[in-house]
Amino acid sequence: MLAERVRADFPILQQRMNGKPLVYLDSAATSQKPRRVIDALVRYYEQYNANVHRGIYRIAEQATEAYEAARAKVAGFINAARPEEVVFTRSTTEAINLVAYAWGRANVGPGDEILLTEMEHHSNLVPWQMLAAERSARLLAVPFDEQGMLRIDEFDRLLSERTKLVALTQQSNVLGTINPVRELAAKAHRVGATVLVDGAQSVPHMPVDVRQLGVDFFAFSAHKMCGPTGAGALWARYELLDAMPPFHGGGEMIMLVHLDRSTYKDPPHKFEAGTPNIADCIVWGEAVDYLQEIGMAAIREHEMQLTHYAMHRLSEVPGLRLFGPESPQRRGGVLAFDLDVAHPHDVAQILDQDGIAVRAGHHCAQPLHRRLDVSATTRASLYLYNNEADVDALVAGLMGVRRLFAPKATRVWS
């Protein structure tokens, strides 16, 4: 099993919680980091910490080279046509906001429509609400069915000549649903709409090829793919970036500055005002190398098998209702569920005593939970280092939750 080969790479997994091994099942929130990524961060600060794109001295050149090499690695990871199509940001959220401000304010106007889905993370929802309010545009959302699959018939019905932008996630952070992005992007382009994809949950877990998907904007981040926090990226076709006005103004993004006007650099630097997050972007490149050496297809295969196992084991827990598609082929390793006898906060609290880390709450997707008619869910999410023992520990922990609550209660929260 893949997990047995890679677990030793992750120092954090070697520690014990309450005397028990750490069972980390919250990689959809943030992934753990392998030793070589942590070492690369230390190496940068110890050996060539310097600002990029300005110094003439040796370590400044070294830092600039490493920063741009990381951009090329990240670009290659999603099969971008060229490194200049990748703009470094601090997060997926910032990448989406960049599009909402720079592209949105120049291209969306009164009466235009922005088509979203009901399974979006708040980061691919709130920026569009703000844009729509400012530009008098309309927001529409495609619902999902009982299986957590996007309603393609509704997508077709809501898509029209008025649609200026389609913004959707490639993989839901709650349901695990993998959306047919390529098919939907092709339909959107037929009516002249631009397509933005939130890839925060997909890029870390499966092979992604932005050119094959045929989308226009693609946002994702480092920390969910074994990299550091504080680094994200926006990919877009070069012509699109070139035609867009800048986002933030300041140093690093200019050619010439006069008191009353400035000229800007070409993409991607046009969108990277100020000193960037040099260290974390460089180290992201190390995470890309790590994942590529293992192989994204192998990671996807491992997670699919483990998801299949987890779904089977979770079905043994009485009163547990798992959300999302039934087939592991159509979903990622994100398992959000409802347990009839206990609220998610209580579930997570009791699991924590056994060293099991899961997430409880609405996972930044309140409209999705409203649609499921629950206020919160418990979410266990898998990654390359998780194994069947982690799933077994989760199931044993949930049985413990039942023992504490079940004799006293049946469905006391809803």
Partner: protein, 153 residues
Amino acid sequence: MALDDLYREVILDHYSHPRNKGELPDPDIKVEGANPLCGDELSIFVKLDGGRVAEVRFHGRGCSISQASASMMTEQIKGKTLDEARALAGRFKAMMQGESVSEDELGELTVLQGVRKFPVRVKCATLSWVALEQGMDEFEAATGKISAKASSE
């Protein structure tokens, strides 16, 4: 940190058999509280008689701590004046923030002291009390306005 401190028998009993749960028609005070962390929502209804809490109910969804705390609160404030209820809310919040309080002051509510060891859950315990305080404030602001209006006519 022992789970027994958090999930005391009394708490689990209030959770599984909540007292005064439901809605109240024509309440004098109706207020909604929410915990943005988890999306839990709770409504409180109070009917007054002669300046005292004649009836109180709560309605909503939430974790064992927030539900048990709300259930206990309804039992504790029945028959009290608004000033007495406000004082009790103040003592309860003080206890949850770490002050030591005696069982004479708070009675059964002291079982919720164990929640202090789990800082993220303190908000669950205080949710209903904070909502009650807000409801009383709104009620007194509104009735204050009504009596001021009456006296000016």
